[in-house]
Symmetry: C2
């Protein structure tokens, strides 16, 4: 059997990288973009990207292709309506950074689709077709939803695509994904924004203002604010679409920051904060080479087993 064809809706940083990576892996791949300029750029680079989403979906239905939604969350409902009209039972996944909201939208707008949500954990502060890169996903974690009841045949398609793009599959329940990315992806964007605003704050010279602070900003500020340079619409779509999970992460950060503020004001000591941060960073470093599993997509408990692999921070890299 030839490897499954791929239809990518959206050709920004993620969709554009996916088109490039899938083609490089030898897949038949085509796409759609709502932007004429983007479609023209992609075509000029030799990719089959149309502004006619319906036509791309029709071809997907005919070829039994895997359809990948790679549009920002606010654009998802409109695309799903077209899916339901043109390729209602297609194999469907996505690359959107929140999963509960997309799953809810699929239930509502394209309930017949064979949907398995996904989220490749890769990105840069750049955006748009031109920023895309066939290697963007190399070595990255690619979350694949592992809730009970999902279509295992499509699950296999999604994992195969992730591997074709050089990524490692991390299975996760939809809601656990959203709680996790609130902590390690959305909160970093918000703290970066706060740090950038404090650094650039319009403050009285007596409070360290003027342009002196930014002139003294070195690598700690540069790294800590890098993602604050992301296009605001993209950050808003991502963070606002994960409101409940994000509130829990923000409250955790606020609580820790408040405790630290109290310690600094009372005893002047910051050891608890700084040591907890050091331990966290070291623990993160230790997770960079996760245990790899080959799994068999059979048995009644396979999805529960997959979720447990992800909860342990481990990955799936092939079929048993």
């Amino acid at each position: 059997m030839a490897e499954r064809a791929v239809c990518v809706v959206g050709a920004g940083l993620i969709g554009g990288s996916l088109l490039r990576a899938a083609e490089k892996a030898g897949r038949t791949v085509w796409g759609a973009s709502a932007s004429e300029a983007t479609a023209a750029q992609a075509c000029a680079d030799g990719f089959d990207v149309t502004i006619n989403t319906d036509a791309a979906l029709r071809r997907a239905a005919e070829a039994d292709a895997l359809v990948v939604l790679a549009v920002p969350l606010p654009a998802v409902p409109d695309v799903l309506r077209r899916v339901d009209a043109i390729a209602p039972a297609c194999r469907l996944t996505d690359a959107v950074s929140v999963k509960v909201a997309v799953a809810d939208a699929v239930d509502r707008y394209a309930p017949r689709a064979r949907y398995v949500g996904a989220h490749p954990m890769a990105g840069t502060a750049e955006s748009g077709w031109a920023a895309g890169d066939a290697e963007l996903f190399t070595g990255a974690a690619w979350v694949v939803a592992a809730d009970d009841g999902l279509d295992l045949d499509v699950w296999r398609d999604v994992a195969d695509l992730a591997w074709a793009c050089g990524a490692r599959v991390v299975p996760a329940a939809t809601d656990e994904h959203d709680l996790a990315v609130a902590r390690v992806s959305h909160l970093p964007h918000l703290l970066a924004a706060i740090l950038a605003a404090v650094g650039a704050g319009e403050v009285d010279p007596a409070l360290g203002g003027g342009d002196l602070p930014l002139a003294l900003a070195a690598s700690s500020f540069a790294d800590g604010t890098r993602v604050a340079g992301t296009r605001p619409e993209l950050v808003l779509a991502m963070c606002e679409g994960n409101r409940d999970a994000l509130l829990a992460a923000v409250d955790d950060a606020l609580g820790r920051l408040g405790v630290m503020r109290g310690a600094l004001a009372s005893t002047g000591g910051l050891a608890a904060t700084v040591k907890a941060g050091y331990a966290g960073r070291m623990r993160w470093s230790a997770t960079r080479e996760p245990l790899e599993h080959h799994v068999s997509l059979t048995g009644p408990a396979v999805l529960a087993e997959l979720r447990d692999i992800g909860r342990r921070g481990e990955v799936v890299t092939g079929w048993a």
Copy 2:
């Protein structure tokens, strides 16, 4: 006249880089380290570094060298006592990351020294002699204190050394320096620590816990927590030594985070936070090529003029 000789006390990341950079610039340079292992490493690399601080200072007194304190803040008083005993009126500067506390210590322990405080704004998450690099200061901002009453002859020595190391001089009042670095250097370390702790937090799986969050952490988390990997003692010495200024910066961040939390909980909107952060990051990017001045160290108002250059985020790169 030969260029002024340099005596560096401390041979960690900063002192070790300074020894390398000054030697590369053709200066006569020697140093001292309280650590036998460090001194041995530096000597093995061909540098004149002794564990006998008194001997290094005696040579500095004889050669009328510029003495640079490159030790962590808690070690400063002990070194200053030796300065007062052996080279009491020496030309003295430092590379410590806070300036009010060092100036106070000089007033107390080495009041006869001809002290002009300084702070090269460069570093990495690494530390120790082996992490040193002759190019560490290339293109960096090198703050030189510009309070009224300072010794202009030593000011010239310090600026000459900064330029020899490839840096740009940013003049600043001692207290304004501390307020500025609280915002752009110390706060980044604390927010990185908080983010790392939240990402690694021991949380209930129902709250997104287990090892899943760290497994999903990608570049936004990696960059946002990079400086949380700095040796905790160094971060504590730096941040705890700047307590009052840091409290103001932490309160600014807490206030902004609280406002954001309120907006997320009530309307779900994060636009104000994200746009302010984007604007701050863009403003920082725009400061990377500051206006350069050549100055003359003459006239009654020269130090006030220098402070104004730094307040505008501009730099001094030579003598008029």
